[in-house]
Symmetry: C2
Subunit: 472 residues, 2 copies
Amino acid sequence: MSAQDSKRSGVQLKTPKGTRDWAGLDIILREDIFQTIGDIFKRHGGTPLDTPVFELNEILSNKYGEDSRLIYQLEDQGGELCSLRYDLTVPLARWLAMNTVQQIKRYHIAKVYRRDQPSMARGRLREFFQCDFDIAGEYDPMIPDSEIICLIIEVFEGLGLGKDITVKINHRKILDGLFAVAGVADHLIRPISSAVDKLDKSPWDEVKKEMEEKGLSSEVADKIGEYVKHSGGPELLKSLRSDAAIATNDKIKAGLDDMDLLFRYLGAFEVADKVSFDLSLARGLDYYTGLIFEVVFNAPKGASKDELSRVGSIAAGGRYDDLVGMFGKRQIPCVGVSFGVDRIFTVLKARHGAEKEKEASARKTDVYIMAFGGKTFDGLLLERMALARELWKAGIRTEFSPKVKPKLPQQFKAAESAGVPLAVILGEGELAAGQARLKVLGQADKDGVEKEGRLLAKADLVPEIKKYLGVV
Amino acid sequence: MSAQDSKRSGVQLKTPKGTRDWAGLDIILREDIFQTIGDIFKRHGGTPLDTPVFELNEILSNKYGEDSRLIYQLEDQGGELCSLRYDLTVPLARWLAMNTVQQIKRYHIAKVYRRDQPSMARGRLREFFQCDFDIAGEYDPMIPDSEIICLIIEVFEGLGLGKDITVKINHRKILDGLFAVAGVADHLIRPISSAVDKLDKSPWDEVKKEMEEKGLSSEVADKIGEYVKHSGGPELLKSLRSDAAIATNDKIKAGLDDMDLLFRYLGAFEVADKVSFDLSLARGLDYYTGLIFEVVFNAPKGASKDELSRVGSIAAGGRYDDLVGMFGKRQIPCVGVSFGVDRIFTVLKARHGAEKEKEASARKTDVYIMAFGGKTFDGLLLERMALARELWKAGIRTEFSPKVKPKLPQQFKAAESAGVPLAVILGEGELAAGQARLKVLGQADKDGVEKEGRLLAKADLVPEIKKYLGVV
């Protein structure tokens, strides 16, 4: 839009900051991702839940720690005060608190809203999709947690990214225990945890500075720095157990027991090699109480840390046993994961965009109905309409020229440029004899349908089209 | 939640006024409706478009006439001023104005927001779904309009409601012409149109009173009342043409020409008998310029007018040729329909809720993995996990008990109460021999799978399960 046009109408022609439209190839690719993820959610016994896009303010308050400032408020227009949902987890907890369900695996694919600084390049928007799967209810320890990790791996396998990702895991009890052992006062544990969470994006010096600003001594900060640099597999568990300074802390012991069980179960699921135990993983949100995890892309050879952190985590989650209880009615322990589809989309589009584009245009329409005739040709519009109705009724995706008297070459051009595989061609004489031509368009020429088009009785059109499309 | 609990947590445990959660049977039924409607949209060449849930305030302003007061504003938290979308039509027009597409059939299934007085009984909420299909671009007259009417009929046929509905149609040019002939001043035409729109819910006396309050004389109001009581089919077109007082009005003539064409095309689509030309249909929104329509349920025998108006219209739309142009960049004529899914849902749930409930519970899980053993039985959890992973990988919806050592009767109870059709039963001795039992649960007992369970080599499990499920 030119500046002049814009001035004339006085309207800024755009979507709000940090939001975008989804059309064409992008939305088709996105729907494919949802389909893959949704199928895997169902495979694991998931049932859908849909909650309103906004919640009462008091439902969202005290759930997100420092990130609460990113919540979108609705204007006070009289009546209740509401905010757009910040994630799908707190609405689930609110729903669990309101209802009597004791155990559920629920999934939810929907948009969430954060007034963050948007960055298209990093796939970070203010309106973006999350695909959530959560297991709520009392189960034997770490069984649902390990199923969630297994499901994460299956989702990325399903998206063709199984070899590209690592699931970083940690445990809030271990982390909080480490902070306590290092000398962090109770009331500082969440703020310090939130500082540690920035280690994947910021160098140690900056994180340390934030810790000091939040009230830690340089010495205590360094002790934490010593611990959180460790990552690895089950062997890290052993080395932590053998560290006398921390192994006596009750919280750490409970966390290590959970992690032992988890690695056993991940072994049974044959996914342990995709998982890295990373003591620097903290997760920003307040409500986690046990296992936490985050999925990152593996560094391609020669990639800089900066390039990697640009995409950031593409899925994350953890255990939150107290969140439902915060609503005052009942306690229900939960563990769940949230997939950040916009980032996954960015990666998949770069990889498969071109081939998807072809597929997308080829699958839109099955049949184009054309008409031709001599001097007295009236366009046969009513006849094209009647046939279209018949094909639509039979479930066949059908189009025809929106002109009363279209020219035959125009009709061919419209059909072929849209990648339509079949044409039905109506002529006055043939119609009078109860017949029409079925023709395969473009390069494709399958057995039984001749290149020039085959003259068929009108009654045979639908079965022949279905045969060609392979939907008999 | 008891009043005491509520007091303790200080949180009102509910969704905001006029919103609801969707779970269980309801969301499954709703997804089925979306599937049916979406398939028909695609059959007509529709491509998806998804726009943000909020728009810049200036995009929505001056589009909705009196209904603008129902728009939800976001709070001014710095930056742009935005509102939740009121419908899916204005966002489409904004998108068309921003892009270079000349012709498109686009569909959009999403939630919209109106601060109206909610009524659960009437299926009227503040957050509700619309399913929109619009045809944008220059076409020969009334061809896209008639396709939209045909699509509406197909959607209700697809939902099993083909015999229950009538499409009421009218034309803004005829209506505006009638107002002009009756003596309504230009600036009053839209407000008076909005008053006429209430005729399906309110008696003539009330509508007349509103007209008088808006500035009409009693005499002019009565003239309008005389015209808008007419409804019928093509014969009404003829009688209007023969009315000398109105047939000379240019707008009315243009509208009647459109309606003549429309009835011809609806005849070709064989849907004319579902359509009623109703001069009292006005539609509240400002932006319509041509054909307008509204789908209503037919009166069941003995139903009162009150009962019918309770459900109101279940789909509506029309032609809006100037809306895209309001954004100042280019003109693109459009016609489209919006299905109100919440009302359709209410009707279908009352009719088919019970049978759907059965279907829904039966289709959640394919296989339940169980374990049993003697005194030294350790629960075979790792073995159940390993097998679950194998079945998940094969696309089979699989669950197992989330207990380390579950009892066999508990496992059967869990599987059968969830309607799972198949069980795989693991025993230590059989596992050591590389075998497991496949058993058909409940009443179902198909050929080839014995009631007691069949002992199979582990390698045969996946193919046998797929064979049973019919997904080979």
